[in-house]
């Protein structure tokens, strides 16, 4: 490991004090002069033709400035498959479909106006189960695709398939085989700050939008396309990202409410703000997809995995977002967690009349790992092998290439598993107590970007000012995860300045260089690498300038020094001769000659160099840019091949639980999380990422489910949708970071944002099984499910022996 000045040290996040003082400005807090409030009228039915929309009463309400529907506005099409419209035209396909919208002088008037809009529908047969949506006679959600070509089924035209080796042969070679079906529910991101935006046009028809987004530049592209749809071709959108209030994937797409705010702003020539209420957020923003995974795995008599077959069916809901590409990530654990010689993977997504879904932290990986790691424990038991030993036996290795073509560089899975086993007391676990048990689960995730677009790049610009402040312009989004603290550390480290001289500018497409978006645990990885590239360029420029300016400046230093210390004898050192660009170094904001004697005057403050460069004839300014695109590949998802990330994060988590057999309640006694993070960049920030992910993993495992009844969300509030509170997190958590010093990572680091919740649910489920012998296959593991399984165990005998 290298020695660092700033990397690995606790570095305060720059937005911390403002957030602590209530001064950080979220979309909810922003105001523009003359700003109107937009509100959306959502569909009253899950599937229906729109016959007539009567907006006359709403239009007459004092304070209303505009009422829009598909009839009186240009058509704006969006969505991953371009299957969605900002305002629905002919029919509605889900309860949350946007049929009309108003802009009014205050939120109350806007809400009142919405209630005055009357919609006539012709109800259509609906389908809410993905299995039923697959049937031949199922109602068609989309009769045509975006190009107008007829469709005759509800399956999305997206193929995800992988085949390596011969899984039938692998099955024949297996001595032990276990099959199971596992499901996961709809889950909401639950950002504490709800979704919203402010759209405003200038009189040149250029748009500024303050957006709660994780993809400012892709959003700019989407919105520019919308401007074209509105007859404003070649006009530009400037996307400004305020303090985010959480993202967790909810900002990976552009949303109908944003296009509606744009339409309303143009219609009224006034800024328009739309902010979702919590109920709207639950019922009208896209959650994580529900999934069903059928998995079958087998191993030989020695416990070596011989094959794996995985089939996934996902309920996509009525329209597509980028969430329709979840299987691109599911494919990764399905093909590459543990060494498996023969694999098939298939995923199918279907349209239904349920709420359409989008990205959420982990992006398919928690869903797939839930099935895979539960099944691993079942297979270990079938084979009579300890689950820890079973994982160790089949674990991934450094520098291997997996069947999907993932090129693993460093791999700390062995150390992670051993750490979890050690911390849980795995080998000495006897007499844990009645109804107590322990379990573990592993993970693989992208750790070096994730190429799901053609580009996986991140641009970064450094600009030095007169006072040697380093202004950083970067297009990645700080959503709370601590990106900007890591960016400050990275710039300070790579450039050779103090962190308090590094300033991160607000995220703004008008000023920041292009970045593909903050997702796939890529933020710190990309920003760090881009910072290193840009800093190296800037150092070259600084040293080039120093050749010319350094000797005279230190000469002045020496004179001053001599004035104070008349007896001082300067060392015999030819400064002019030594002032060569390749001999300079810059550390903590001072330029010096590497092999020069360490005299206090024989160095130069960076600010002086820059001032000298500015205040002269033919002066120059010092900036540097970098566009980092990691060495990974856009996989061929139909073949299931391609090195999607430049490095991979591994980890293992363990849980000890106690099950109350009277109530079915699961109490977590402790958690252990061991993660191969490559290199710890900012310890408090990293811990916060893993602690927070664990809480989301626990919510996923035990509590959270967005209940949908015939397409309607039944629990759109925090009373009925439970996320962990302080009481649910009341147990010791042991975090262990394995540093593998990855050659692709900035300073050796891998991405860490998502891995923390990937194996949590199966680790808990495996512990529950260890405790009371019931295997729950459908998340969340509610007391009702545990009780009913315990009941079944009593009547059916020992479930442990069943395949």
């Amino acid at each position: 490991m290298r020695n660092f000045h700033h990397i690995g040290k606790a570095t305060p996040r720059p937005d911390g004090p403002d957030k602590a003082a209530g001064k950080a400005l979220y979309i909810h807090d922003l105001q523009r002069p003359g700003m109107l409030y937009g509100k959306i009228k959502f569909s009253d039915l899950p599937h229906a033709r729109l016959k007539h929309i009567d907006t006359s009463k709403a239009e007459r309400l004092p304070g209303v400035r505009a009422v829009i529907t598909a009839k009186n506005t240009p058509e704006i099409r969006f969505g991953f498959l371009w299957d969605n419209l900002a305002l629905k035209k002919d029919k509605v396909r889900q309860y949350r479909d946007e049929v009309a919208a108003v802009a009014a002088i205050d939120p109350e008037t806007a809400a009142e106006a919405i209630d005055l809009i009357h919609v006539e529908y012709e109800p259509l047969p609906s389908v809410f189960s993905p299995h039923e949506a697959l049937q031949e006679d199922a109602p068609l959600i989309h009769e045509t695709d975006a190009q107008g070509r007829p469709r005759n089924h509800n399956i999305l035209p997206l193929k995800y398939h992988h085949e390596s080796g011969d899984s039938d042969k692998g099955k024949r070679a297996a001595k032990h085989i276990v099959e199971g079906e596992f499901s996961t529910p709809l889950v909401q991101q639950c950002c504490m700050g709800t979704a919203g935006c402010i759209a405003e046009f200038d009189m040149n028809h250029n748009l500024t939008i303050w957006a709660k987004t994780q993809i400012p530049f892709l959003a700019q592209r989407d919105f520019n396309r919308a401007l074209t749809d509105m007859g404003l071709k070649d006009r530009n959108t400037r996307v400004i990202v305020p303090a985010l209030g959480g993202g967790f994937g909810s900002g990976l797409d552009t949303h109908a409410y944003e296009y509606i705010a744009i339409l309303l702003a143009f219609q009224t020539s006034q800024p328009v703000k739309i902010v979702y209420t919590r109920r709207e957020e639950f019922a009208h923003l896209s959650p994580r997809q529900s999934s069903r995974t059928r998995i079958i795995q087998g191993c030989d008599p020695n416990g070596k995995l011989t094959f794996r077959k995985v089939e996934v069916l996902q309920d996509n809901g009525a329209y597509t977002s980028w969430g329709a590409t979840y299987p691109s990530v599911m494919m990764m654990p399905a093909t590459s967690l543990y060494h498996v010689p023969n694999i098939t993977f298939d995923a199918k997504l279907v349209y239904t009349n349920n709420t359409y879904c989008q990205a959420m932290r982990g992006y398919g990986n928690p869903e797939l790992t839930w099935a895979l790691e539960s099944n691993m424990d079942e297979l270990a038991e079938e084979a009579g092998i300890d689950p820890f030993e079973f994982r160790m036996l089949n674990r991934n290795q450094p520098e291997e290439t997996t069947p999907m073509g993932l090129k693993v560089s460093t791999c700390g899975l062995k150390e992670c598993l051993e750490t979890v086993a050690l911390k849980l007391g795995w080998k000495s676990r006897i007499n844990q107590g009645k109804n107590r048990g322990i379990g573990m689960a592993s993970l693989i995730h992208v750790g070096g970007g994730g190429r799901i677009y053609r580009s996986d790049a991140s641009g970064l610009l450094l600009k030095l000012d007169d006072f040697a402040n380093v202004n950083v312009f970067h297009g990645g989004v700080e959503m709370g995860q601590g990106l900007h603290a890591v960016l400050i550390q990275s710039v300070a480290e790579a450039l050779g300045v103090c962190p308090d001289k590094v300033f991160i500018n607000p995220t703004d497409t008008g000023t920041c260089p292009w970045d593909v978006g903050t997702h796939a645990s890529r933020g710190a990885f990309m920003a760090g690498n881009a910072a290193i590239l840009a800093a190296n360029k800037l150092r070259s420029k600084i040293f080039e300038l120093a050749e010319e300016l350094f000797p005279a400046e230190v000469e002045k230093n020496l004179k001053k020094h001599l004035k104070k210390n008349p007896d001082y004898m300067p060392p015999d050192f030819d400064i002019a001769k030594a002032s060569r660009r390749d001999r300079f170094d810059l550390q903590e904001g001072y330029i010096f000659i590497k092999d020069a004697p360490s005299e206090p005057w024989l160095r130069m403050d960076l600010g002086r160099l820059i001032r000298a460069a500015h205040f002269r004839q033919q002066g120059q300014m010092l900036t540097a840019e970098a566009f980092y695109d990691p060495p990974n590949e856009l996989p061929d998802f139909e073949k299931g091949l391609g090195n999607i990330s430049s490095t991979y994060a591994f980890g293992a988590q363990g849980a000890e639980v106690e099950v109350d057999t009277e109530t079915g309640e699961v109490k977590i006694l402790r958690l252990v999380a061991a993660h191969d993070v490559g290199k710890v960049l900012n310890p408090p920030g990293l811990k916060g990422q893993i602690y927070g992910a664990l809480a989301q993993g626990i919510g996923y495992a035990l509590y959270e489910e967005l209940q949908s009844k015939e397409g309607k969300i039944q629990n759109p509030d925090f009373r009925d949708y439970k996320i962990p509170r302080t009481h649910e997190m009341d147990f010791p958590i042991d975090l262990e970071f394995i540093e593998t010093d990855d050659r692709f990572g900035p300073f050796g680091a891998k991405g860490v944002a998502e891995p923390g919740l990937v194996p949590t649910a199966p680790a808990i489920a495996n512990a529950i099984y260890d405790a009371v012998g019931v295997r729950i296959r459908n998340l969340p593991i509610t007391p009702e499910k545990v009780l009913s399984a315990l009941q079944k165990l009593k009547t059916d005998g020992n479930q442990r022996l069943l395949p």
């Binding site: 606790a10 305060p12 996040r13 937005d15 911390g16 004090p17 403002d18 957030k19 602590a20 003082a21 209530g22 001064k23 950080a24 400005l25 979220y26 909810h28 807090d29 105001q31 991101q189 639950c190 950002c191 504490m192 700050g193 709800t194 303090a243 985010l244 209030g245 959480g246 993202g247 967790f248 209420t277 919590r278 959503m479 709370g480 995860q481 601590g482 408090p684 920030g685 811990k687 916060g688 602690y691 927070g692 992910a693 664990l694 809480a695 989301q696 509030d717 925090f718 009373r719 996320i723 962990p724 509170r725 302080t726 009481h727 997190m729 009341d730 958590i733």
Partner: protein
């Protein structure tokens, strides 16, 4: 019907017009433009809008504005000292890595203040109880609880 109400806000007496159906949160974020207090749910379930009324932590989104008349209200804007100095609690949150997206932070800090004002040396169970009405989606609460402990310890050291 709008009515002028008078109350003490962060130590200063103010008059503000309010409707009978408005909440204290509406008045703070609306008429008074004090956006430090956040609205996370509007239904008293998340604690993002926690403020102190006569030293008790309440959800401003449920608290009728008229009820505040004659009382003393403390918001996040009233917690920091002059000359941009963070209070002990705020600094402990910053130092403990207890802040991520920050949306729950003002409410967390006010709930912490209500706790430490009555119980300067709280047990972990008391801390968890005091913060049980404040939801956070980013941190898993671990570093928030550490921050409250740190604040209590620093307070003790100082007094």
């Amino acid at each position: 019907m709008k009515k002028t109400i008078t109350f003490t806000l962060n130590g200063t007496q103010i008059n503000v017009a309010a409707d009978s159906d408005q909440t204290l949160l509406d008045i703070l974020r609306g008429a008074l433009c004090m956006t430090g207090t956040k609205e996370g749910c509007g239904e008293g379930e998340c604690g993002a809008c926690t403020v102190l009324v006569d030293d008790s932590a309440i959800n401003a989104c449920l608290y009728p504005a008229f009820e505040a008349a004659g009382k003393s209200v403390t918001t996040i804007e009233g917690i920091a000292g002059t000359r941009n100095r963070l209070s002990i609690i705020q600094q402990a949150f910053v130092d403990s890595g207890a802040i991520q997206c920050g949306f729950c932070t003002p409410g967390m800090i006010l709930s912490t203040k209500a706790l430490l004002d009555t119980q300067p040396d709280p047990s972990e169970a008391e801390i968890r109880k005091a913060l049980s009405g404040n939801l956070c989606r980013c941190t898993g609460y671990v570093q928030i609880i550490e921050a409250v402990k740190k604040a209590a310890a620093r307070w003790k050291e100082k007094s």
